[in-house]
Amino acid sequence: MKYLFRFIIFITILFYGCSRRFPEKINIARNSFVLLNQDSSNVNFPFDYKGKILVATFIYTNCPDICPMTTYNMQQVQKKLEQKNINNVQFAAISFDPIRDTPSILKDYASIRGMNLNNFSFLTGNKKSIYSLIKNFNFLVLPGDTTQVGTNPVYFFTHADKIYLIDQQGRIRNEYRGSKLDKNKLLSDIKYLED
């Protein structure tokens, strides 16, 4: 009886510990959105990622400072996983500026950064789909500074700074600061989900 009691306590602590590390934040798999990747191919987000771990973020390619930091941090994690032979992870950077960020712009953005697109996609889509998806993630984005260069209007966004870890069932399990990513924490969490 004493041993059974200890066993129950142990199991309770174990499960409590697991749920504390990875509480299910949001199930984004309840809706799927048809997006376009950098090659103009359709992507059903997030259904097409089912069964894989997904590291996702929201960016816009006209962002001069923060979004490139987030993209680069994800690129670094992608490289680390490749070195560790961990293959069940996909990366997605979804544009919240779909009017300017066409597939070809996204492709150029990836190309000039020498990105490996084997398991990294840049996604765009129609504004309605993108903003419904953003709402599902509770990601905040607002119009920011606007200026005029000659006859060209230039605008920026005020936005959250997040990278999301999504499990194999399409549930957000953790969030990280995108531009100041704790890469070791993300890698450790990915490993935990993989196991």
Partner: protein, 134 residues
């Protein structure tokens, strides 16, 4: 001879009131935006003010600051930067930067671009920045 050259170089570096190092900028495609980062040192006894940066590679160049407020990343233009005497001011990622708007050419990693820093007291300073990987 080498010693003499080294001494002259050292003298030249220290005689400059404002010096810049570690200048780099983000890769970006023509028509897009980028950012320039560097460390600027004021070696003089008086404060120095950086009020403009110019280059022919962008349609517009502004001194800018990225900052976080209530969980949101925001940007604002700053009219000038004061560098205290015998101090270094760092333009760095996620903070103060020189914003390059509407690039006139692709900025490919490894390539170099020329900028001119305009100060209140000192002469304009020519800076060569290298395009980084990110």
């Amino acid at each position: 001879m080498i010693l003499l050259f080294s001494m002259l170089t050292l003298f030249s570096i220290h005689s400059q009131k404002v010096t810049v190092r570690h200048a780099w900028l983000r890769p970006a495609n023509k028509g897009m935006n980028s950012a320039l980062y560097f460390e600027v040192r004021n070696n003089s006894e008086k404060p120095e003010t950086l009020f403009n940066v110019t280059s022919n590679i962008a349609g517009m160049i502004q001194l800018h600051e990225s900052y976080m407020e209530k969980g949101m990343m925001k940007m604002r233009m700053v009219p000038f930067i004061v560098i205290k005497p015998h101090s270094t001011f760092v333009f760095k990622e996620g903070s103060y930067h020189i914003m390059l708007i509407l690039l006139k050419k692709d900025l490919k990693p490894g390539s170099k671009e020329i900028f001119f820093l305009h100060f209140k007291n000192e002469n304009n300073l020519k800076v060569i920045a290298i395009v980084g990987k990110n």
